[in-house]
C-alpha cells in the first residue's frame, strides 16, 4: 500500500510515536493472563470490519490492531522499541529492512494450507526468495487516473506515461495534471517511460529522467500525494499520477456525488511500480499459533476478497477473484494481465550515497526550470 500521504503531519506523528512507543510495549506484554489476543500492526483501513468479526468468532480470540499510515512510521515505531506485535503488514522494501534486521520469525507453512491460493506471480519476490517470512496480502499499483469525459474530448491516450511527460499532450491539459510528490515514484515513472528499470541507479539515466521531468514540469499543477483524490473527484484535475486504491476512491466519490463525468484509471503499458504488502511474523509476538491461524484465514478467498471490495486493493489471491465485485475484478488497472504484470516492478532501497544523490536531483527538480 502507498503512504496515504499527509506527509505534513508525519513529522509530528513520528515524534509522538517515539514518545508513546515506550508505553505501548508494556501494555502489550500484559496478554499472558490467559485471554486469547492476537496483535496485528496494520495499515489504516486495511481489513474489512466484517472479516475481523468472523475471524474472532472462528478463533475464539480477540484481534487487537494498531495502525500506521506509512512504512517509515512503522519502522520508526518498531525501532523505538514497540513490541508485542504478532503480525505486521509491511511493503516490500520495508519488509526487506525487517528481514535484514533479523526481527522476523520464519513461517511454518504446514499451518498454511491456503497458501496455494496465492498467484505464483506474487511469490518469490527479490525481498524474500522462497517466502520464508512473508505471505502476500494485497497490493497497490502506481498508475494514471483521469477524467474520462475530458480525456475522450481532447483525444488523449491513457495507456502511456507520455500523457504526463510529453508536451504535445500536456499542452491540452496544462494546469490540470498532478504527479506524486515522491522522489522514488516520479523517478520510477520517468525511468519506465525512458525504458529503464525503476531501480536503475545509473546517474546518466537519472539525468535523462530529470530532463524529462523538467521539460514536463511547467505543465503540471502541483506535486500532490493526497489532494489529487478529491480534486479528481470534483473535476478540478483531469489527469493524475497516483495510487490505484486512491483512484478507486476518487472514482467512487465521483459516482456517489453524481458528477457528470467518471474517473477512470489505467496502468501505463511501459510498466509501473507495484507495492506488494505481505503479512510477516514479528519476533516480539507471543502467539504464533493464532498468527498462523489468522494468515490462513486471510488466505481464504472470501475473506481476502472483502478487503478488495472495500478499498479497491489489488488482490494476489486467485481464490478471491470469484468473490470480488465484477466491476473491480474486470478492471485491468487493479488486476493486470500476465503481459502487463511482467512489466511491473517493486521498488528496492538505494544505498545511502545513491539516496543522497537522488535527493539532490529531486531538489534540483523542485527548484529549477529547464
Amino acid at each position: 500500500m502507498n503512504p496515504p500521504g499527509r506527509s505534513t503531519a508525519l513529522l509530528a506523528l513520528l515524534l509522538s510515536v517515539l514518545l508513546l512507543a515506550g508505553c505501548s510495549s508494556q501494555e502489550q506484554n500484559a496478554t499472558t493472563s490467559g485471554e486469547n489476543v492476537l496483535h496485528l500492526f496494520n495499515w489504516n483501513n486495511y481489513i474489512a470490519p466484517a472479516t475481523v468479526k468472523r475471524f474472532e468468532q472462528s478463533c475464539n480470540c480477540r484481534l487487537s490492531q494498531d495502525y500506521y499510515a506509512d512504512n517509515e512510521e512503522m519502522l520508526a515505531k518498531l525501532a523505538a522499541g514497540a513490541s508485542g506485535y504478532d503480525l505486521i503488514v509491511p511493503t516490500g522494501n520495508a519488509m526487506d529492512t525487517l528481514i535484514r534486521q533479523g526481527v522476523l520469525k520464519q513461517l511454518d507453512k504446514s499451518l498454511l494450507p491456503n497458501l496455494k491460493n496465492i498467484n505464483p506471480a506474487y511469490l518469490n519476490s527479490a525481498f524474500d526468495p522462497g517466502n520464508k517470512y512473508s505471505v502476500p496480502y494485497a497490493y497497490t499499483l502506481t498508475l494514471l487516473g483521469f477524467n474520462q469525459e475530458k480525456v475522450k474530448e481532447l483525444g488523449l491516450p491513457t495507456d502511456t506515461w507520455a500523457i504526463i511527460f510529453e508536451p504535445k499532450y500536456l499542452e491540452k491539459i496544462k494546469g490540470r495534471v498532478t504527479v506524486l510528490d515522491s522522489q522514488r515514484e516520479l523517478m520510477a515513472a520517468a525511468l519506465k517511460y525512458l525504458g529503464y528499470s525503476v531501480n536503475d541507479a545509473d546517474e546518466q539515466h537519472w539525468q535523462q529522467a530529470r530532463d524529462l521531468i523538467l521539460r514536463a514540469k511547467p505543465y503540471w499543477a502541483a506535486f500532490s500525494n493526497t489532494s489529487y483524490v478529491k480534486e479528481l473527484a470534483v473535476g478540478n484535475l483531469w489527469v493524475a499520477h497516483g495510487y490505484s486504491n486512491d483512484m478507486f476512491q476518487a472514482a467512487l466519490d465521483a459516482r456517489k456525488t453524481g458528477r457528470k463525468f467518471g474517473i477512470g484509471y489505467s496502468t501505463p503499458k511501459e510498466g509501473a511500480v507495484l507495492a506488494l504488502d505481505s503479512i510477516v511474523l514479528h519476533q516480539s509476538g507471543t502467539r504464533p499459533d493464532l498468527a498462523h491461524q489468522f494468515i490462513n484465514f486471510m488466505l481464504a478467498g472470501k475473506n481476502s476478497a472483502e478487503l478488495t471490495n472495500l478499498t479497491g486493493a489489488g488482490n494476489p489471491n486467485m481464490d478471491a477473484i470469484q468473490f470480488i465485485q465484477p466491476e473491480i475484478a474486470d478492471n485491468k488497472a487493479i488486476f493486470p494481465d500476465r503481459e502487463l504484470l511482467a512489466r511491473l516492478e517493486m521498488l528496492q532501497d538505494f544505498d545511502r550515497k545513491q539516496r543522497r544523490l537522488l535527493s539532490r536531483l529531486w531538489t534540483e527538480i523542485k527548484l529549477r526550470n529547464l
Binding site: E72, A79, Q101, G175, A221, R355, S359, L367
Partner: protein, 303 residues
C-alpha cells in the same frame, strides 16, 4: 533608571535571568549540539544513524565520523539557491504581515479600552482551530472553481487579462504564510502601541505637525521595538515552514523546511538533514543578531 550593584541586587538578577537561561540551554543549546554531532555521523543502512564505533558483530555497514555532509552542502550552488529563495519568501511574508498588521494594531490600541481585549481575542481566535485545517480551507478558497477565483478572474477578464490559477502557486504560498503568521505580528505591535503616551501626539499637534508627520516622527520610531520583535516572530517561523508550501505550493515552491523534512522522512539521511538544520539555525541567529542590533535602544534614541 537607578543602577544598583548591591549583592541582593545581583542575586535577584540571577533569579530573574536563571529560568530563561536554563530554558535556552535545555531547548536550544543542547538540541543544537545533538544536531551538530548528528551532522558529523553517517546515515544508517535502515535509516537513523550508523554507529560511531565499529559494531560488535561487524557484519557490514560503515561507522565513524565524517565531514562529508558539509562538503556535499558546499559542493553545489543548489543549496545556496534554496536558502536565498526561502529568505526571499520569508522577507516578503514579513513585509506583507507588517503592512497588514500595523493599521490593525494601531486601530486596536487607539480604540476604547473596553473593546481592546475583545479585539485582541478576535485576532487570536483562529488559533482555536487546527492550523492544518485552516490551510486546507485555503485550498477550497483558492481552488479553480471557488467563488473567489471566479471573482478575481472576472475582474481580470474585464481588463482583458487572461485568467489566473491561484491555487498551487507562489501566490498561494504567500497567502498561507501571511494568514498563519499575521497574529504573531499584530500582538507585539499592539503591546507596543498600546503603551504610547497620547500626550506625545497632542504635543506634536500643538507644535504644528500634521497627521502624517505625527505618525512618521512620533508613533513609528517609538513602535520600532514592536516592529522588530513582530518581524522576528514572523520571519523565523516562515523560514522553517514546510506545511504551507506542501499543501498550497505548486511545482516550484520548495523551501528549506521542505528540504529538511525530506531528509528525515523521505531520504532517511539524518546527517545531511542535521547539516541543513544547522545552516538554517546559523542563518537565523545571524538575522536575529542583526535585528537586535538595529532595534537596540541607542539607534532609536538617535533619531
Amino acid at each position: 533608571m537607578i543602577k544598583g550593584n548591591t549583592k541582593a541586587n545581583r542575586t535577584a538578577k540571577w533569579l530573574v535571568s536563571g529560568p530563561p537561561l536554563l530554558f535556552l540551554l535545555v531547548f536550544f543549546v543542547a538540541p543544537s549540539l545533538i544536531m551538530l554531532f548528528t551532522s558529523l555521523r553517517l546515515p544508517g543502512e535502515f535509516g537513523g544513524l550508523a554507529p560511531i564505533a565499529a559494531p560488535a558483530e561487524a557484519v557490514h555497514g560503515e561507522y565513524g565520523l565524517t565531514l562529508e555532509t558539509y562538503q556535499f552542502f558546499f559542493s553545489d550552488i543548489l543549496y545556496a539557491e534554496i536558502f536565498l529563495k526561502s529568505f526571499a519568501v520569508a522577507a516578503a511574508s514579513t513585509l506583507i504581515c507588517l503592512i497588514m498588521a500595523y493599521p490593525l494594531a494601531l486601530l486596536i490600541a487607539r480604540s476604547e479600552k473596553r473593546f481592546r481585549n475583545l479585539m485582541v481575542l478576535l485576532v487570536v481566535l483562529p488559533f482555536a482551530s487546527n492550523f492544518l485545517i485552516r490551510i486546507y480551507a485555503w485550498m477550497i478558497i483558492l481552488g479553480p472553481e471557488s467563488v473567489f477565483s471566479h471573482f478575481i478572474n472576472a475582474f481580470l477578464g474585464a481588463f482583458g487579462i487572461a485568467p489566473v490559477t491561484l491555487l498551487f502557486s507562489p501566490f498561494a504560498v504567500l497567502v498561507g504564510m501571511v494568514y498563519v503568521h499575521l497574529p504573531f505580528m499584530v500582538l507585539p505591535l499592539y503591546t507596543n502601541l498600546e503603551k504610547h503616551d497620547p500626550a506625545l501626539l497632542d504635543a506634536a499637534q500643538d507644535l504644528g505637525a500634521n497627521a502624517w508627520q505625527r505618525f512618521w516622527r512620533v508613533t513609528w520610531p517609538l513602535s520600532l521595538p514592536g516592529v522588530f520583535s513582530g518581524a522576528a516572530l514572523v520571519f523565523i517561523p516562515v523560514l522553517g515552514m514546510f506545511a504551507v508550501p506542501d499543501i498550497l505550493g505548486g511545482t516550484g515552491d520548495i523551501l528549506i523546511g521542505n528540504l529538511i523534512k525530506d531528509q528525515f522522512l523521505g531520504t532517511r539521511d539524518w546527517p545531511f538533514g542535521s547539516t541543513l538544520s544547522i545552516m538554517l539555525t546559523l542563518a537565523v541567529l545571524a538575522i536575529t543578531g542583526l535585528a537586535a542590533w538595529f532595534a537596540r535602544p541607542a539607534t532609536i534614541a538617535e533619531r
